[in-house]
Symmetry: C4
Subunit: 253 residues, 4 copies
């Protein structure tokens, strides 16, 4: 296996699509929004991305079937504009992997002549939020006014810690490649999968894309996702990672 | 030394063998079963795998002789089917190494026309288990019914944290290569080398392979293995790793 | 993206310039001095250095615009001598990256025929310092007497832990390349951005370069920088790194 | 800079020399013995090994002069046999680096037709030892009887955690290259630079090499080394690593 392998699933002709990225992150806000969009819009999977930069494990599905950790691109043709949607199981597990994977994502975007990128995420506040606002960051100053019209907040130097992972690097590396990109971050406690925050982000994204998406299923989807995440957290605490734990290696590192 | 080096020890002609993997992991269940099978079946070593992805150390044997950390392939010809058995000292110490080593293991499997893979491990519960069940995961849905007949349990989305290391990736990468693979996980506390869990796994594996293996020595073998593991744990806690500790480096990382 | 990419911003002809390095470190002393010099001397940016060895994130600027993490070279022509000034957002996030990035910095230095390097940093004492002294280290014994004339202290084997990162390696690798280099370290508590320590370092550097730099803005600049650093620290403690946190990966590593 | 660079300092003709390795480790026993031998025997430096696998820093010498972290080979011609002595500042800071550096050390050994290797280290007991014994490990069973004659102890499966770093890999990789190698480990508390343990190891090594080395300076040399190590430890605890700390990166990793 190469360090990154892209497997094309289906050939599609898209017209200057917009790319929406929703990989795992704080409150799983981006992932929740992107997966909801895929379902509601009936998007089709067009490519899978495998990489040795992902955690060295497989995912166990509901029926006991496993599959490799991967990212996936979905496509949907729309009235106003076509969409590419990027989701996945994990971010890179290595430092350089974040750069290399984002490069690979951008290569796919360029091949489809993507004209704009929205990356989605949560903005962790460490406490419950009644009415989550949506913060923005852009890689082209000209986008700020447009985003403000949709209700996006811009706070000076926020997030102060920068934007980590693919959601950040798609803006940075995308900018170097001449593609406009916006990061939308829904305020969230950061502790749970947050459907309220996801709804806030999705509302703004719908305005920006001039589309309409039913949000009813969002809360239930969040509950399902929370169950999975809770199990991960529990295992993290007990150190009981099934099967090949690194137990034997810990004393070396 | 290359990043991975395979040293052939003995040439054998096997007929579509089944590969059984038992590398170190939770409760050392897989390793215990695989080493027991090698002894009881009189399997012969056919290859050694060396890699700079393994921990940078040597193993000290009973007589004071040392050898490199490595994985080993054993072969045994059977009435019903031939077997390849993969055991080893350690899993990869690096993220990418898990992928590269599993690729190397699969290359050897393909060279021998392996038609099916069983990976063995423990499923850590964090508490003592009276009658350990054996959970399964597969890379081909068609295998589930067959496995259920042998008494394998399939629980929805379990293990929720996925299957880490070679036991998982052999299913994932094996599936991409078109090789059927099953992971058998014996329930275990996760704290000790667990002969009860190993016996549960081995019983099912024997049914699946239509072979008969005496299990009497399993308990004693577990005691021996526990002594070694206990010593490792102790050293881990005191930080007394003999000879070249990373003492000088700790303040940098 | 290559592992290191240098983007030339402006072509300049410099005459055997002196290179001053002020990348992030203890008390942000070096960074504070170097950024102050750029402003007060009106230095122009001539190159940007991007690298997958930097942390995988983007920086969010005051107006919500993001940019890639990077290092920057500034140039200014002077009466006494020309200056190259190296500043940046982060040091390398990987072990090898420190070596590779310093190599890249030295390549740029050599292309401009740099004849001497000053690297700037803080010397952490763990407690408040009323009158911070400036410690020195050199890669050529002949430099010690000259530095003592400017008030630089040389203490036997200090810093005992060596000099970590680009500030150290520019002396080490610079020496192998035949370029004289001096590290100036201002005593500091290590807890806050320290304008007193920066002033002490800058005073000595001005003497060494025979230039005059107004220090009035130094204290205010330190306050601004402290706000940013405090925000980083806070996020570090709460674990609330906006957007793509490594939350999902923590249980693996 | 390449990942490993060997700089030849002096050409020497040695006749099937014995290589003695004393890189940093538990109780700094190996390093203490090897540096003592270099001084007492008047060995000459013949090569320096630089590597981006070493910690990314420079060493500050007594007079404020810095130099790159490195390993060094010394040579001395003897009546009974010629010696090559390997010492250095640090072990590898990366997993693969241990393998790559040991390969490089072995390349130099092979170029000089080294016929035997002694690697030296401490065996940490976690408590004070009145009369330290010297444990042995070998890569060729035929060596055990000879070593016992010099007073080396062989304990079953000890050290149970294996031998980590160059002291172990020189035996493992050396064995694959057909070079006999012995690891001598002096019992030590593991907390301090231990001249008693060093004396025990050196006594046995002198017998094995049929040479005579004055041990008077050993205690004083240990005191000097302890001062340096104590300073490292102190800094490790306060987190005050001078100059370019990784402070800014910690919140990412």
């Amino acid at each position: 296996m190469e360090r990154i392998e892209v497997k094309e699933i289906k050939q599609v002709e898209l017209e200057n699509p917009v790319l929406v990225e929703g990989l795992p992150g704080i409150g799983h806000v981006g992932k929740l929004v992107a997966e909801h969009m895929i379902d509601e819009l009936g998007a089709e999977k067009i490519a899978e991305v495998y990489s040795s930069h992902f955690p060295p494990q497989v995912i166990v599905l509901a029926n006991g079937l496993v599959r490799m950790v991967r990212s996936e691109f979905y496509a949907v043709k729309g009235e106003k504009q076509d969409l590419l949607i990027l989701v996945g199981d994990h971010q890179s597990a290595t430092n350089e992997g974040h750069y290399e994977l984002t490069d690979a994502y951008l290569d796919i975007a360029k091949r489809h002549n993507v004209r704009r990128i929205y990356t989605l995420g949560g903005y962790g506040l460490g406490q419950l939020v009644e009415k989550p606002a949506v913060l923005g960051a852009v890689n082209n100053e000209a986008l700020i006014e447009e985003m403000k019209q949709y209700g996006v907040l811009f706070k000076e130097n926020e997030p102060g810690g920068g934007i980590v992972g693919a959601s950040g690097l798609l803006l940075g590396l995308g900018g170097l490649a001449g593609i406009d990109a916006i990061c939308l971050m829904g305020e969230t406690s950061g502790y749970l999968v947050d459907p309220k925050s996801a709804q806030a982000v999705l509302s703004i994204l719908c305005k920006a894309l001039s589309i309409d998406i039913n949000m009813q299923a969002l809360e239930e989807r969040a509950k399902d996702m929370e169950k999975i995440v809770a199990r991960l957290r529990e295992m993290e605490q007990t150190g009981m990672h099934e099967v090949a734990s690194e137990e034997d290696l810990r004393y070396i590192r």
